[in-house]
């Protein structure tokens, strides 16, 4: 009696091959991901001093002009809520850009990976050519930081020609039905002002429009990962809060009280 060799059926072999292929592709995918994902260079963030804000909304206007956003699309707004018992004479003004959370709840819900957090500097962006306009990210954002572009236009602007937005350095000419119309839009920390190395230049004027404009110097922008930056120093010296900490979103925008 000869020894029986274990017989592998064609079905088993195909099954094993399939399992092997899946495992290999997962490993390969992760390896490619690890090799191509740029290392974190910066952690851009803002420290907003509510004591210095006078509620002039220059930041809202500067943002709209810089990014050429249409009606209904705001990358920052200023809320003015009276303190309890304080009445309307001394409200708390709060300018509210996107907080570029370290754990952004808007990112995992996107069905097509159109919105993501940039690995190099933590800015949460939207790929206008991929976004399908389902608006799930708007529902998921706890801070109301995202707008849907309904295709509305400012009537008085038509004399100046079609607006061109420098966003994402894409310089898209606004058309009635092309992206970003029908997309979700949000604050990008004016990343189109970064140079090719991803650096801003405050003295050269390449600085987020709201922070650059603020007449009361209430909006401080910088690298939260750099202990010597102005924002890091303010966080060490002053009492700062972040909104809705309990949600675990780790916002990159702080408010000084």
């Amino acid at each position: 009696m000869g020894r029986m060799l274990p017989v592998i059926s064609r079905r088993d072999m195909l099954k094993q091959a399939a399992v092997g292929a899946v495992a290999a592709s997962v490993v390969a995918h992760e390896a490619v991901g690890a090799a191509t994902t740029p290392a974190r260079k910066h952690h851009w963030g803002m420290v907003i001093d509510t004591q210095r804000c006078v509620g002039c909304e220059a930041c809202v206007i500067a943002c709209k002009i810089e990014n050429q956003t249409p009606p209904g699309v705001y990358y920052t707004v200023v809320t003015r809520e009276p303190l309890p018992g304080g009445g309307n004479d001394r409200p708390v003004f709060m300018t509210k850009p996107c907080f570029h959370c370290e754990e952004p709840p808007c990112v995992p819900v996107c069905p097509v990976n159109a919105t993501y957090k940039r690995p190099s500097d933590g800015i949460v962006v939207v790929d206008y050519d991929r976004c399908i306009g389902c608006r799930y990210c708007i529902a998921a954002c706890p801070y109301g930081a995202r707008s849907f572009d309904f295709g509305d236009d400012y009537e008085m602007l038509s004399a100046a020609g079609d607006p061109i937005s420098p966003e994402y350095k894409q310089y898209r000419v606004r058309t009635p039905d092309g992206s970003p119309v029908g997309n979700v839009r949000k604050c990008t920390f004016c990343l189109h002002l970064q140079d090719e190395n991803g650096e801003y230049d405050r003295d050269g004027g390449r600085w987020p429009a709201c922070a650059k404009t603020c007449p009361g110097h209430a909006i401080h922008f910088g690298d939260l990962g750099d202990a010597e930056s102005e924002v890091s120093r303010l966080l060490r010296e002053r009492n700062a809060i972040r909104l809705k900490e309990e949600l675990g979103t780790e916002p990159s925008v702080y408010y000084l009280l």
């Binding site: 709060m94 995992p108 069905p111 097509v112 159109a114 608006r135 529902a139 707008s147 119309v181 949600l247």
Partner: protein, 410 residues
């Protein structure tokens, strides 16, 4: 007969608003819609959840026949699967209109993000749709073969739809039913996952306290079963005069709907109780908006009055033994659930996430008070009419409630 004629008239009439709505949607996009950036989802999303619930509910009830072999519901088996297909198509059409870029729907297949509950949902209901169509074809296959011998255009339609199948023996029917059982069995967990997934889509959002609960996906399932069961009862009573021919079945369906409806109420009460005592300001604000906001009537009249009190008064009383009143009660449930869906979607969104957000800028897109625009209603009413038409066409072309007798030539 007059009921059926009314059915057709309403359905055909619905094509007019649908055409107008589609024209506006394709030429001006979302510009004429009333949702905005604070309330990003409105009537269409509620309508989508509504139809997808009807689909999952009808399909799960068909499993009573095809998986669990409950003989007394046999007459609604095929109707249930057909209703599931029609409702799913209506749901997908509605949510397609809601996309900012409807030409990019295929992105969900080539760039899927499986961390997103929306992506699970899309992939699951794509699988579910393929399964539904395959199951329905198997259920109809022998009748299509038999119908080839009918006269005129029916034969022509049957010849195409049969896809070349010619065997009309009883053995082939038994073989079909075995395959149906396999598909239906796979379909049950699939339908639970995909409709639970729709609930999860809302439930996972910590940003919206009104939705953010572990009970949410479960409530979606129960309410799907209740509304889907009610739709089936109405459909079986209208088509082939089910209320006369299958009297006992209609009464039994009424009891099932009553049970599911009460279970749904129990879950909702639990949700409200925990929410109110938990006193999360966002939750309480949303609940207040639903029960006492500007659109309080959606809750008290549509959801509670029509959707709950009327059907319970009929189904839980001696009136529930009248096979003509049971479909009326179920029709009330079907209508009332429109209110349920609206009251999930809109109040959950229509509260400020940050105090003062809706007053920060004077802009109609930054408002929390949402009421659908005429354009949104056009699409909604039109899609409803389209649904009635699809049911009507099914009624004409397909023997939905009974198998045709095999030819007497063997």
């Amino acid at each position: 007969m007059t009921l059926k004629r009314a059915f057709w008239a309403v359905g055909l009439f619905g094509l007019i608003p649908l055409g107008m709505g589609l024209y506006i949607r394709l030429t001006t996009g979302h510009a004429d819609a009333n949702y905005g950036s604070l309330v990003p989802w409105g009537l269409w999303v509620a309508q989508y959840v509504y139809f997808i619930g009807l689909s999952a509910g009808a399909f799960l009830l068909s499993s009573l026949v095809y998986v669990f072999g409950v003989k007394r519901f046999e007459p609604i088996g095929r109707l249930a699967v057909f209703a599931a297909i029609v409702s799913l198509l209506l749901a997908l059409f509605t949510i397609w209109m809601d996309l900012g870029h409807l030409e990019r729907f295929w992105h969900v297949f080539i760039y899927p993000n499986f961390a997103s509950p929306m992506a699970w949902m899309i992939w699951l209901y794509t699988t579910y749709f393929i399964l539904l169509v395959a199951e329905f074809w198997l259920l109809m296959r022998r009748d299509l073969v038999v119908a080839r011998s009918l006269a005129g255009w029916r034969s022509f339609v049957a010849r195409i739809a049969a896809l070349g199948a010619r065997n009309d023996s009883d053995e082939s029917l038994a073989a079909d039913m075995r395959k149906v059982k396999v598909l239906a069995t796979i379909g049950v967990p699939l339908a639970i996952m995909f409709h639970g997934g729709v609930g999860a889509l809302f439930g996972v959002l910590a940003s919206r306290p009104y939705w953010n609960s572990g009970l949410f996906p479960i409530i979606f399932l129960v309410s799907a079963l209740a509304s889907g069961g009610a739709l089936l009862t109405v459909a079986s009573a209208i088509f082939q005069e089910g209320w006369r021919e299958h009297r006992q079945m209609v009464l039994d369906l009424g009891k099932i709907v009553l049970g599911l409806l009460l279970l749904d109420v129990l879950f909702q009460l639990s949700e409200i109780l925990v929410g109110v005592y938990g006193a999360d300001p966002g939750y309480v604000a949303s609940l207040r908006l639903a029960v006492g906001g500007p659109h309080w009537y959606v809750f008290w009249i549509v959801q509670v009055g029509i959707g709950l009190l009327v059907p319970v008064a009929i189904l839980a009383s001696p009136l529930g033994r009248d096979p003509r009143l049971v479909p009326v009660a179920c029709a009330a449930v079907v209508v009332g659930f429109i209110g349920v869906r609206l009251n999930i979607v809109v109040p959950g969104l229509a509260v400020e996430e940050i105090a003062g957000l809706s007053r920060a800028v004077d802009d109609p897109r930054y408002q929390t008070n949402y009421f659908p625009s005429a354009f949104e209603w056009l699409i909604t009413v039109g899609i409803g009419g389209l649904g009635l038409l699809m049911f009507g066409i099914g009624e004409v072309f397909l023997p939905l409630s009974r198998h045709l007798p095999a030819r007497q030539n063997a």
